[in-house]
């Protein structure tokens, strides 16, 4: 059991405390500059339970891979022919699409179809997504196995240096889970406001941002929708917004994207 304090997992009702930004930055760095009329035309990868391609809220899926275990126990990346059997990845993909309509969605399935979140499969899927050079990766999941933490940390740093933004949903149970705690990813908890473009910078990390995560109408298996609540649905909002930023400013590095998100957060003083 972790002895570290449990971080704020989600934002209590009401606005977050104001976050100060240096005056000159505040004036220069506006939401209009950051996302303006961007439609998010970059590659976004959902590492999750797969994506139901062609769902009205998801649209086309540019590529779909699955992590599978061979008969000898080895981990392989294969073409995904199942799509999504759980629904979780489709829900995340729909949220990203709603914010970044022109993004190219990619799927790497590491969950479902008999896989309940084995750490080595998640690692392999994430590694594949990073090697593929996608600009944004959404990870609405975590592993609680400490033996995978070091390798996950290295992977998260790899992504950071290669220019891939990893957005990971935060946890609040009193156990350590990864990779959302790492500073090389962007960790996201939930707020209760219904606006997908309201996001808050957290003055008290390790959770860095709060995004819409309560009563979200998400894409569901079979072409339908469901109303869902949870940090799983907050992370893809930030993944979608990151896609908007990167489509407009492809030269930005992950740390610059994180800075832009902080300086243009709803609770950052002077955010226009």
């Amino acid at each position: 059991m972790s002895t570290r304090p449990v971080p704020a997992w989600s934002l209590p009702p009401g606005d977050a405390p104001a976050v100060e930004a240096p005056g000159p930055w505040r004036e220069a760095l506006t939401r209009q500059w950051a996302i303006g009329d961007s439609r998010g035309a970059v590659d976004v990868c959902i590492v999750d339970s797969g994506i139901e391609a062609g769902h009205p809220l998801v649209g086309p899926v540019a590529s779909a891979r699955a992590v599978a275990r061979g008969e000898d126990g080895s981990v392989q990346i294969v073409e995904d022919e199942l799509g999504d059997v759980v629904g979780h990845g489709t829900a995340c993909a729909g949220i990203v699409r709603s914010l970044a309509p022109d993004c190219r969605l990619h799927s790497v399935r590491v969950l479902g179809a008999g896989n309940t979140g084995a750490g080595d499969l998640i690692l392999a899927g994430l590694r594949h997504a990073i090697d593929s050079g996608h600009r944004v990766i959404n990870l609405s999941l975590s592993t609680t196995k400490r033996r995978f933490a070091e390798e996950l940390h290295e992977l998260a740093d790899d992504a950071y240096f290669k220019g891939t933004v990893i957005v990971a949903s935060a946890h609040n149970l009193p156990v350590d889970s990864y990779p959302w705690r790492f500073s090389s990813v962007i960790s996201v908890g939930s707020h209760e406001r219904p606006d997908p473009l309201t996001w808050y910078a957290n003055p008290d990390p390790p959770v860095e941002l709060f995004a819409r995560g309560v009563d979200v109408d998400v894409a569901w298996l079979g072409g339908g929708t469901l109303r869902c609540t949870g940090n799983s649905f907050a992370a893809p909002h930030v993944a979608g917004i990151s896609a908007l930023v990167l489509a407009k400013h492809p030269e930005l590095t992950p740390y610059q994207v994180k800075t832009v998100l902080r300086l243009t957060a709803t609770n950052t003083e002077g955010t226009p």
């Binding site: 059991m1 997992w9 989600s10 934002l11 209590p12 009702p13 999750d48 339970s49 059997v85 759980v86 629904g87 979780h88 969950l111 479902g112 179809a113 008999g114 896989n115 309940t116 979140g117 609405s140 999941l141 975590s142 592993t143 609680t144 196995k145 400490r146 949903s169 946890h171 609040n172 149970l173 009193p174 156990v175 889970s177 939930s190 707020h191 209760e192 995560g213 309560v214 009563d215 569901w220 298996l221 079979g222 339908g224 929708t225 469901l226 109303r227 869902c228 609540t229 949870g230 940090n231 799983s232 649905f233």
Partner: protein, 210 residues
């Protein structure tokens, strides 16, 4: 000590399976009452079979569901288990596929589910679910926090239950720990103190030979 030995020791010295079952039952009873829900359940994740098993049920289905199994990575409970994240899903009855599956497996079709993974140390032991909470009670971040706290209790309860089960299987096994545990169990049931005196004599003998 190995897992089995410590489990055996816990089983002999601590509670038994029935006590831990009662603890899990009280957790789902209280969860159901707090959220004004129709039902609440605790599922155990059976890793070998890759299935979720109803271990405690309060409300709808309480009489029949305990012991029922379904595949671990499907359904809303599966969501919570595989992603290690709690979540709330509403409007389920609008989804014909889900309703059919649910009706077939449990005979009850909920409109809403709240599910939280039961994480203990590094392991995902199962899932706590709350079905059809009262409609006049919104479920926001504060309620998810509350459910998370319940999940911690439920995870500890589930861990104790698993230890008790391992203890029982260790008692039925071979080797010194099993023998000692069986003898300790028998001593517990004995009226007189002859057995204990014999054991103390054995201990003195073994110490004198060191």
């Amino acid at each position: 000590m190995s897992d089995e030995q410590s489990a055996a020791a816990a089983g002999v010295l601590g509670g038994d399976e029935e006590t831990f079952r009662a603890l899990l039952q009280s957790i789902v009873d209280v969860a159901r009452a707090i959220f004004g829900a129709q039902a609440s359940s605790i599922f155990l994740y059976d890793e070998d079979a890759d299935e979720l098993v109803f271990e405690a049920v309060s409300g709808e289905g309480g009489d029949t569901l305990v012991g029922t199994r379904f595949p671990s990575s499907t359904g809303i409970a599966g969501f919570a288990l595989v992603t290690r994240q709690p979540l709330v899903v509403d409007d389920l009855s609008n989804d014909p596929r889900f309703s059919r599956e649910r009706a077939a497996s449990t005979g009850y079709v909920p409109n809403s589910i709240v599910a939280s993974p039961l994480l203990h140390d590094e392991r995902a032991l199962g899932v706590l679910s709350v079905l059809d909470r009262a409609e006049d009670r919104p479920f926001g971040v504060a309620e998810l926090e509350l459910l998370s706290r319940f999940s911690t209790q439920a995870a500890i309860g589930l861990d104790l239950l698993l230890r008790a089960r391992r203890a029982r299987s260790a008692l039925a096994g071979e080797g010194t720990p099993a023998l000692v545990a069986r003898v300790a169990s028998l001593l517990d049931e004995e009226d007189g103190d002859e057995g204990m005196r014999l054991l103390e004599a054995l201990e003195r003998l073994l110490l004198s030979r060191r």
